[in-house]
Symmetry: D3
Subunit: 250 residues, 6 copies
């Protein structure tokens, strides 16, 4: 049995598909997120974080998803050249994930997809609590593409814009718990997913989990840990499923 790589360092890049460093949140927020990821990473894992030069400040629509993709793909392609072992696409909607997988050979992980399959093995029916009603259709579409829509009980939103989630943490947390409780009661969910990366980095998922008494999937954690799992298992998305664009000559 060939060994899985362990002795050497694993380098992971977390790419935010937006211009977060130019928003109010600034570089500081990037640093804060990096620290959280690094703290939770394996001992031999080094996590770096970056955002992109050109794109939306945050993503609450299909339109903003698409705006973010060209620069993010470019950043992912570059990361492979820089020797990263894997990339986390830092938006729950996984914008452009298939394109990134076409362009590189290293594993690129989407938090939406990863959280959904994790939820699928933790229970029978999961609900996603996300930011705004405007992203519900595209998360339902994502579940279909991932192939687990039969386990999706519902997508519900707190109707707080991404950039305001952190303004009043208590309000946000309370709203998330409220929507999750409706999902449990009304949609018969048995697993909850936090459906936004800014929620994921608020440090509230375990408190909510305790409160609800059912698993709460934090997309930041599971993306990190499952990417580590894939890298150490020498697994990368299938090039037969995500072929290199023929015209680009590889």
């Amino acid at each position: 049995m060939p060994q899985m790589r362990r002795s050497i360092v694993m380098r992971i890049l977390y790419v935010i598909p937006g211009t977060m460093s130019k928003t109010e949140l600034g570089e500081e927020e990037l640093g804060r997120r990096k620290k959280i990821l690094q703290k939770n990473a394996g001992k031999d894992t080094v996590v770096d974080i970056t955002d992109i030069e050109e794109g939306p400040s945050s993503i609450e629509s299909s339109y903003e998803e698409y705006l973010s993709i060209p620069a993010t793909v470019e950043r992912v392609v570059q990361s492979e050249k820089e020797g990263y072992d894997g990339v986390i696409l830092g938006c729950f909607g996984d914008p452009g994930l298939d394109a990134m997988r076409e362009m590189v050979k290293i594993p690129v992980i989407g938090p939406g997809e990863t959280s959904m399959v994790t939820a699928a093995i933790l229970g029978h029916r999961f609900s996603i609590i996300t930011v705004m009603d405007s992203v519900i259709p595209s998360l339902e579409k994502l579940a279909k593409v991932v192939g687990v829509e039969r386990k999706l009980a519902s997508v519900r939103s707190v109707n707080i814009p991404v950039l305001e989630l952190g303004k009043d943490m208590e309000v946000t947390k309370k709203k998330i718990i409220e929507e999750a409780e409706i999902a449990l009661e009304h949609d018969r969910s048995d697993v909850i997913i936090l459906g936004c990366m800014s929620m994921a980095f608020m440090g509230i998922s375990e408190e909510i989990q305790e409160k609800l008494g059912i698993p709460v999937v934090n997309p930041a954690y599971v993306s990190l840990k499952i990417l580590e799992a894939l890298i150490s298992s020498h697994l990368s998305p299938s090039k037969r499923a995500f072929p290199y664009p023929p015209k680009l000559g590889k």
Copy 2:
């Protein structure tokens, strides 16, 4: 019963999400396509055509689909301001269709989606004959999103790049017929869709239809005619399904 609009002229814009005028095909090909569309349009319809300034020369991958979207959305937004009554997104993969529908109120039609629902009312099982194996996964994904995947018998490709389809028309036509015949025999299709706009404008769909003895859906024709049908029925995609991005303040 409120009248449907008839007396006034209907203005339609066909937007090519790529830089066709900068390729070998050039402005001439745009002119040729416009002429075909105009000829087949209703008497009071005026069809204009345009491509985009920045984007891929042709689309044979998810990556190129995404590259095309930002400039195309912008062009569609502008077309609404210019008073167009509707837009055809001129690529069979419908790249960014949901974003365009978020950003405008006039109907935007995707040839892939439109062809698939047309095929769904013409038979029980349809096959799509497209250009390259590399686009098969994203057309299968499109069928799921449209919601007609239960009638999709197969997607098959001729493995000729978009920009070479016209190099030898006879070879292309022969290859399409060959793949369609396999679809009939092996996948039990009863309707064929030409799965690429450059195929659609080659003027071969009716000959192939006659040869095969089953309906061959030409995405250029049906997009045009169904867009006219929607406009004259005062129907436009639901803003509840495709809401305006909240942050952009409308």
Copy 3:
């Protein structure tokens, strides 16, 4: 590219699968409907209307659907001989549509099927507002046969019999809006279909559309316009899907 037919007149027959002219509504209602269709038809389209000699006065059950079919098929077969270019089967339940397609080569359009695929491209989830609870099961069955049941959010009824819909237009309109609003709120619909041809000809669809703020598909309009679209695109249902009955010797 072969020209689509435009220069010559397009002749369409709207066949009511019931004995409307013998009901209270009488020939007058047929004339009124013909006028509405003609007004909304393309400039070169001539629309005729007919009902059948023997059959139900209106259709609110599977039983009445079947009663209507033999005479209606016969009328459709005859219409092809008379040179019509296409037929609209004038009942939302599309009774016997497959049989009609077996027996003729010209396109026969069912308003139920046509409205459902139109709704499928206008949004993510559609609801049908129909006349009586008794037809809900067969409309749900129709959605399965058409292949778009994944986008069907609900079928709801106003519980007013077909022949009484016009007795008090204001009540009917109010009831439709009420049910549609429940569909929006409770079933998360983003498109509404008027699920009865007598509703379609009441001239209320656009007012309801304005009121609800989402697309309201009028089966009369879309059947007419999509039939015109098919005829001008030289498309007819697949004879491989709807073969001529073998014993009848064609």
Copy 4:
């Protein structure tokens, strides 16, 4: 626990939805079928058989299915008045089954539906061997309506018209076995259904079952036995699912 009815005689009518007695087969064939049914019925069951006055001679298309329905419904309604305890609709395609259930309260059984659910509990994937390619689409549609399409592996035909099945019994039997073997090998079936009542009464199902080594469902047997099971269990199709046509005033 209320007793199930046993002491009194159970009267069943087998209704052939066609004019068999007027074909070459004649009254004799009706008598022969009645005898087979009676022989296999429970001790207290009396089976009668009838065909209809007006309708197709045999059914190999949707068109002929619909032609058979009005007279057959009438016959079923009459049978309830005559005191029959249940009816078998004697055509594998179950033409008009829902209408019959709307019009009476006694159980009406369709051989297609009954055979499919029986096959569903005998294995994981079933195939139907039927008469002509022309009925394949409507049997696939039937499986969807019954709700067991996920277990339908395939519908295959011997391409022998109904009225010629008995001309050369050996040829017919050989053709059925050939198609069934393809279904086993190619479609991975583990249960076979004889998809035509004229096949069912040829007395060959058990020989084929022995030959193939897997269950062969005979629609005549299972319709009879399951109808007896329903009657003795006091079960009849739901009037909530198949409501009486509202206008007919019951």
Copy 5:
């Protein structure tokens, strides 16, 4: 046509996969159930009943389902050697049904599966009323395995443990009716299944059926009658679907 067996006696064993005779209910309850089954069986049918030596006292979880299987399979294997013509697995959850079918050639019937397919031919949407919330997930899973999940409207529970169902018959009956009425109203069911064998033997199904006005499927009755139907039709589960375990050397 080979005769179906009628002249000889049909011997059926009802196996309770639990240690009922060791519970408070005792041998007496086994005797009572046998009597009910015998009374409702065909004239030539002899029904025996047995429980198992080692296993759970009742089944309200997946864990208890599994505990019951080894001894029950053994009892089923033995029953085939003893000459039984068929076996009813006496628990609504059908625990280990596939294993039993692997190990014997005689038909083994699961009440859950049998009731679901019976419900599927009686209406469009069925609900199961069962004992405890804890078995809802495994009944939903069973519907998927049977292949009729598209007709499953809901599983609801009265939240009374199996062994307490009979303590106050009136309370139990009232609770079942209450849950069934919610299923009708809220889940749009048109058929109800009693989802527990102890409910089935309480002698209340017909009273509930009368009260609700829709079919109430009693799993004890339909298992008995459909097993008789299979035996007399010479049908047994497919050995291709349920092959003998290869290592055990048959």
Copy 6:
């Protein structure tokens, strides 16, 4: 953000649901597998391995699956008391996984389920290559239960019994590659799963992956790494989905 556990040791038990130590393979094989797992585990992970006292020697049927469950559940319950942080159920068919999750609070991982969701994020269509035809139905059933059956392209077998897989490693490897190549070509798979734990521990998955050029999911690796991921993310299967058996009084 609460820290994920890292500083302390993570203890994992791999439970073989069979009596492997009593077979020819003996304790030695258990030791060998433990070593492989330990080698691939995280630095702070301690892996133990055990089999069960009573059960089948290997699993190639549903019957043997069920035989293994009672003792394995007991072992899992005990492992929780012994302080293990998580358990891997060491059989690809995941026998009794739901029961184990009912009985404990620590995460229990099934290699079948875990491999399928991993495959679901690596490509569009996966195939499972397993030991014997006799387990194909239960793996197809597992895919339905997990909820990813829409991505399952096929289950294929090498038809070598579990206990003989290691007799001639070259033959086994060659057979696996052959079947995988058929899956790629014929079933259009883009990811392969080794569908048996004895295959997983043969040390051939990466060689096969290289040969095929697409991801080959090794269920031993991914179970280990994803269990580590769940433990470090504080995630355990939902007790709402897998409730404790009510009668057992917790």
